[in-house]
């Protein structure tokens, strides 16, 4: 489990992140979302024990990031994919990974086995002896991810794991992240890619120098947007809209041809009586659908309303 308690980091006069309180459960894929300069990378760096918080604390697997011994232990049990791959271009993929295996104290036999395993997973085993400077951006990102997981960490911090990748490479990385969760890893992702976060994250935190909202991507829209129904009829009937105006639980009505767009307070409670009334009025109801809001809608609304720093 990862717990952040009032985690704060300032750079001179600038506060990158303030009073961050989060709990990330084991085996969870957790997304940190926010605009540039929101403090996502700073948060990740503090959790990876690269920089110290100005105040507050965090624990990873029970080890405090403030404690020197805890920091060493955290470095052993975590893997980091930084924003830039940071590979050694003149060295081969194998040599890059072998170097990091040594830094993590892996014995040679285990190193060789793990390097083979991760490179095969990313279809790079055949290119293991090629200098990574000759690799495409996607391949380099795969090697960087392979480096982060080489020592089999329990916690993974991935900063923009699919940034700059083509759709196919992005999908490979996304699928791999999901497979890592199934293997029992806890994964924290920094991303601008909201569709991706929606697809792979169990929960997300919207941050912009502070926590704005935390929750499963699908639940964040609740309470943020009014719930809207679209009723599609077989034939157009303007009189229905007039009749619906008298309903106390309908906040607004828009008509567009055979479609009625209704803002309803409690669809679960109100929809049956609403549909019954329409049918009684002779309307031939074809579809009743609730409008869904994407994480992008949520993100933009939250950033617009409360996310200003």
């Amino acid at each position: 489990m990862i717990k952040c308690n009032a985690l704060t980091r300032r750079y001179d006069d600038i506060t990158a992140i303030s009073d961050l309180n989060l709990t990330i459960e084991d085996r969870e894929v957790f997304g940190l979302l926010g605009p540039n300069g929101a403090g996502k990378t700073t948060t990740m760096r503090m959790l990876a024990c690269l920089i110290a918080p100005t105040s507050g604390d965090a624990t990873i697997g029970g080890h405090s990031i403030l404690d020197l011994r805890g920091q060493q232990e955290i470095r052993r049990i975590t893997g980091l994919l930084p924003e830039a791959p940071g590979l050694y271009d003149t060295l081969s993929a194998h040599a890059n990974l072998d170097f990091y295996g040594k830094l993590y104290g892996m014995p040679q036999a285990l190193r060789e086995r793990s390097i083979k395993e991760v490179l095969e997973k990313f279809d790079l085993w055949d290119r293991r002896d090629d200098a990574v400077g000759t690799f495409s951006k996607g391949m380099r990102q795969k090697v960087a991810i392979a480096r982060a997981i080489l020592h089999d960490p329990t916690y993974l911090f991935l900063d923009e794991p699919t940034a700059g990748l083509d759709p196919k490479a992005s999908k490979t990385v996304r699928d791999y992240i999901v497979s890592l969760r199934e293997e029992g890893k806890t994964i924290v992702i920094n991303t601008h890619n909201l569709a991706e976060a929606e697809r792979i994250c169990d929960r997300v935190a919207l941050i912009n120098g502070r926590t704005i909202q935390v929750g499963p991507p699908g639940n964040l829209a609740r309470g943020l947007f009014a719930r809207t129904l679209t009723v599609t009829l077989a034939e157009e009937d303007p009189s229905l809209a007039e009749g619906l105006e008298s309903f106390p639980y309908i906040a607004s009505i828009e008509t567009s041809g055979t479609r009625l767009r209704l803002t309803v307070k409690d669809p679960e409670q109100n929809n049956p009586s609403l549909v019954k009334w329409l049918v009684e009025k002779g309307a031939r109801v074809q579809f009743v659908e609730e409008e869904e809001y994407s994480l992008e809608d949520v993100y933009l609304r939250l950033m617009e309303e409360g996310g200003r720093r």
Partner: protein, 356 residues
Amino acid sequence: MISDNAKAVMRKDLSEFRRQKLVIGSIIAMPLILGILIPLSMFAPIAMEAPEGPTWDVENLFTQGRLDPSWDVPETASTLESVETADVALQNTRVVNATIERAVLTECDVRDSTLKNVTIDSCLLENVNLYNCVVTNSRGAGLDGETIMSVDSELVFEHERESELEKLIPMFLNTTLILFIILPVTLPTIIASYSIVGEKNNKSLEPILASPTTDGELLLGKVLSAFVPSMASTLGAVAVGGAIINIFLSQLGEPLLPNLTWVLGILLLAPLACIMSILACVIVSSRVTDVRAAQQVGGFIVMPVIVLMFGVLAGVILLTPLAMLAISGAFAAANGGLYYFAKAIFNREDILVRWA
């Protein structure tokens, strides 16, 4: 004890250097220049210009020509012993323990005597003081005196004087030694600048720092990765250069290298100078973001050794073993200060927040 992580950082850097033309070129080219070209350019002219035989410290000694090796000791028919005489002409005579003035001596064997205003031809002289004498076609040893004209003779005097070229040899040796010490100072400015600023430009410091490697291990690894090739290159240059210098020294009849000054210079001062350069590079690298800028600023690191060289050339600093120990002590003290400064700035927080 060097930790496994420091060794891993060093080996990784060395693997990278093997593929860097600038680094590998410097490691090979600089020893070639210093190890071969400089000894050749300094010592070859000395060997060519050096006079044959020793130079005698006798006032107003003029020599011309050399004695034919087929010269034989003259046979003597009579002996003149323990006398003081003047205005004589002696031929085929053994002269022992005598003082002779204004004379002409031909085919004589003269021992333990003093000759003043004498013309000497085809004689053998031993332990003789010569004043205002002209010596032709003669051989002598253990001689002394003043105002002597020697023509086609081989005379060995008691008082030898160093030739000007002989005086230059120790200075040239010291200058060459300093040049060899410049090598381990210069090479790290290329290697360490690359290995630290390069890492920074490559954005590869973050994943290293996220590993269990400590700041000290990373610093040690970086120091070693610059130290090992710099000193290996230096020792290679010294081995080649020393061998070339020894060829010339043997021709000149001078003592061969290594002497104690060189041993201390190469095995004590050069490593200390190398470490000083590396630590200074670490400090410089923390303030710049470009490898070339780091190398240019790093060029100033050579200045203390250049000052040392000028001191040697000007004769202000004499590189004796004691001086080597004193200079090494000063470098060691400077290294202590630089180490604490480098260690203070070489921490995760500064590397990531201020270096980037």
